[in-house]
Every structure is written in structure tokens, then in C-alpha cells.
Symmetry: D2
Subunit: 138 residues, 4 copies
């Protein structure tokens, strides 16, 4: 069963995000995916502050990043997101696609976990979103 | 009577701070001066958290920035700082000098004010530092 | 005669642009205005690369920044821009307004000048845009 | 045979690198390691510009990032670096340690490859540095 994307966000490269080589600096892809992830959670009514108030702290433990095609000044792109669970880990798959040709720019697996009173645990809201992702991709 | 610098901090340009034009992006000079200002205050035992706990909020109201000579990858530079009072405003003068030739890179006047219970007020710790600056420059 | 805005760009605060104090870090307002300025020039067919190819280098010489009301996570805002000429200087007025209540967030005067073969000069494209701004604000 | 670190760089957290949660924003660890890697290469006389002039382009293809312990405002830390080769890939191991207690903060494997005339190839200078790393750790 294939995982399907359940969120997308259109963005555009800003000149200040590019470096000496004339392409987006690597660290900015992490910024793009953080922003897309937070917007996704926000749109589903999940806030770090809200979870924290209930004793749940969601933290990023690991990231696997693949740099495929560099973005350049002015490029528009779309950030797509899927979510799966692996044991106690919630893994966000976040892929960036260049708008002009649909080319894959960057792909990340972001492993987060929930600390509940300092111990690894699960989170009902995230579990519900995982279920949404478990279907055929359109 | 000339104002004298009372703090200096040596820094070095990091490649990711440079943009498409091969020079430090303008916004990073603001980062450099913020860092130098916070280090200066920290070394004098003044923290925003500490002031806040006593009901004093120090905020930046205005900045006048002069861009003189761009820094390039690898350049070492020194941030120098002076402080004066103008009525209820505390004005930090922050100048950056390139190490290789002493050239002035960037010069800023950073106007801050203290809000005490929501009203403009003065701060004894900052007044003491202002007095230190009121002497002949070496 | 009042200057009128001739460009606007809607943006939204990204969480990573906020700092310890829970508000947008001061240097990011400079990023926002740089992005809006570059988009404005780009939409009018003016690129730094294009000017440079004709021997014209546009550089920022000074900025006067006024911090009015801090932006917070998730805030939407609009960057508005006007342009005037003062002698050989082209001055961009860039104001940011919070979308929820129209409140002025940040206001900047960005003085740029054109170096033509190393000497201060004027630029026909920018002059044309200055003329557009010289009218009553709606 | 254990890999040994062949470079270290001491740094300190700057307040503007911290986010809403009061800790260093995740993307800044990537900045720290990029800076350390570039300094390491620079100290060994290797520049991207120099390689490029000889037709060699070194690019980052993948990163595996592990976030262990968050850095906080003012924390001093040391970036340590080792280098190994895996086929045509040069893998930088970059670990950050908090100075106060030696605690591991962040660990990254940064896979780079060299494109020579558009094809994957090897680079004599990097091979020499790999040899330096192949020894017992002290």
C-alpha cells in the first residue's frame, strides 16, 4: 500500500536564501520543510503549545535529507507531506517539487517522537493523521 | 568630549552569510551587531530576562544603518560598541571594522528604550554603562 | 504632494523567523523588505544582473528602520513600497502592515545609489518608477 | 580500525540562532557544520572555487542528522570532523559537543560527491585527507 501526500504548500525562493554558488543554501531546505510541517499541523489544529500544555513534547530526533536538484532565485516550488508511524516514531516524508517542470528538488524523512512526562509515547491526534495517509496515492 | 568604545568582539564571516553577489547579505550585519550587543550586556551582568523580572523591558525602537564596505567570505572583523543616552533613549553606536586593513565596514546607531510597566523609563544599569563611555577615546 | 505606494506583497511569518522572545527577530524585517524590493524590481523587468551587464551597480548605502509593533508566529502581513529620488539617491519607503488590524509593524527608508563605472549616476528605469510614485495616494 | 577526528572548531551559540522554544533552531546545526567543514577544507588549501577551476564540483548529496541534546543561548560547543570514503562518496562525520559537560549535541553524516565534467569521480586532495583519518582515535 502506497503512502499518499496529505498536505501541500506552494512557496517561492527568496534571493536572500541563495548563497555564493547562486543556489539555495542547503540549510534553507530544512527551513522550508519546518515551515510546511508546522503549517500542516496548525491546519489540523495541532500546536506544540497545545500538546505541551497536555504534557506531550514533540521533538525531532533524526532527519535523512536527499538533495536532488538545486533551487535557484525566483523558483516556485511545492512542498508535499505524508506521515507514517514506525513503532513510537512519527515519520514525516517531505518532498519539494520545482513548479516549472515537476522535478524533485529535495526529499526528507523527519523522525519525530513524543515525550510524555519524559517517556516515549504516542499521540492520538498524530495517529489520526497517520490513518489519513494510509491509502493509495491518487 | 568624544565618545569611546567600551566593548569589542572579533568575528569572522561564515560562507552561508554571503549571498548571490558574493558578499555578506545586508541583514547579517544586523545579526552581527545584535550578537555583539547581547555579549556586551551579558558581560556586564545585564540580561533581558533579569530586567524583565524587575518589570523593565528593553526594546529596539529605531536603527540607522550605514553600509560602507562589503565583507567577503573568510573576512575577519571586529565589532566595536559605545553607548550614550539621549533623553529616555539609550543609543548603541556599533561599528564593524575589517581586520585586514582597519577599514570601516558598517556603522549603526541602535536606539533602544526601556518600558517600565508600559511607560518609558530609565535603567540604572544602563546609566552606569553610559557613564563609562563618556571619556576621551584612546 | 503625497507619495503613493506602487507595490504590495502579502507574506506570512514563519516560525523559524521568531526568536527567544516569541516575536520575529529584528533582522528578519530586513529580509522581508529585501524580498519585497527585489520582487517589485523583478516585476518591472529590472534585475541586478541586467543593470550590472550595462555597467550599473545598484547598492544599498543607508537604511533607517523603525520598529513599531512586533509580528508574532502565524501573523499575515502586507509589505507596501514607494520610491522617491533625492538627488542621486533612490529612496525606497517600505512599510509592513499587520493583516488582522492594519496596524503598522515596521517602516524603513532604504537609500540606494547607482554606481556607473564607479561613479554615482542615475538610472532611467528607476527614474520611470519614481514618476509613478509621484501622485496622490488613493 | 576506528576513525579519528582530524579537525575541530570552537563556536558559541548566538541568541538570534535560537527560536521560540528557547533552543537553537534545527536548521542552524546545519549552518554550524557547513561552516566547520568549509573552515577545515580552507585550512587544507581546498576551495570550491579552486576545484571548480579544475573541473571538479563537490556537492552534498545526502545528510543523516541526529539531534541529541539541544544547545541553548550562550552555550559554547566544539565541532569535530572526520572524513571517510565509501566508493565514490566522501562522507564527513561531524559531531558537536557541548563544552560545559562534553555532551554530544548533534551528529551528522554528510555525503558529498565530486562531479568531474558531469561524471562521478574522485579527488586526490580529498583522498589524502581520508588517509589522515584512517588511524586510531586518541
Amino acid at each position: 500500500m502506497k503512502m499518499k501526500y496529505i498536505h501541500e504548500l506552494r512557496m517561492q525562493v527568496r534571493d536572500y536564501e541563495c548563497d555564493l554558488q547562486g543556489i539555495v543554501n542547503n540549510a534553507n531546505y530544512q527551513h522550508y520543510t519546518e515551515h510546511a510541517r508546522h503549517m500542516f499541523l496548525h491546519e489540523h489544529g495541532i500546536s506544540f503549545a497545545g500538546l505541551h500544555a497536555r504534557g506531550i513534547d514533540a521533538v525531532v530526533a533524526r532527519m535523512a535529507l536527499r538533495f536532488k536538484t538545486p533551487l535557484r532565485p525566483g523558483d516556485a516550488f511545492t512542498a508535499r507531506l505524508a506521515l507514517r508511524r514506525e513503532g513510537v516514531k512519527y515519520v514525516f516524508r517531505q518532498d519539494l517539487f520545482r513548479e516549472s517542470d515537476g522535478c524533485l528538488v529535495f526529499s526528507a524523512d523527519v523522525e519525530t517522537c513524543c515525550l510524555i512526562g519524559g517517556r516515549l509515547g504516542t499521540c492520538a491526534e498524530l495517529d489520526a493523521l497517520v490513518d489519513e495517509c494510509a491509502g493509495e496515492d491518487e
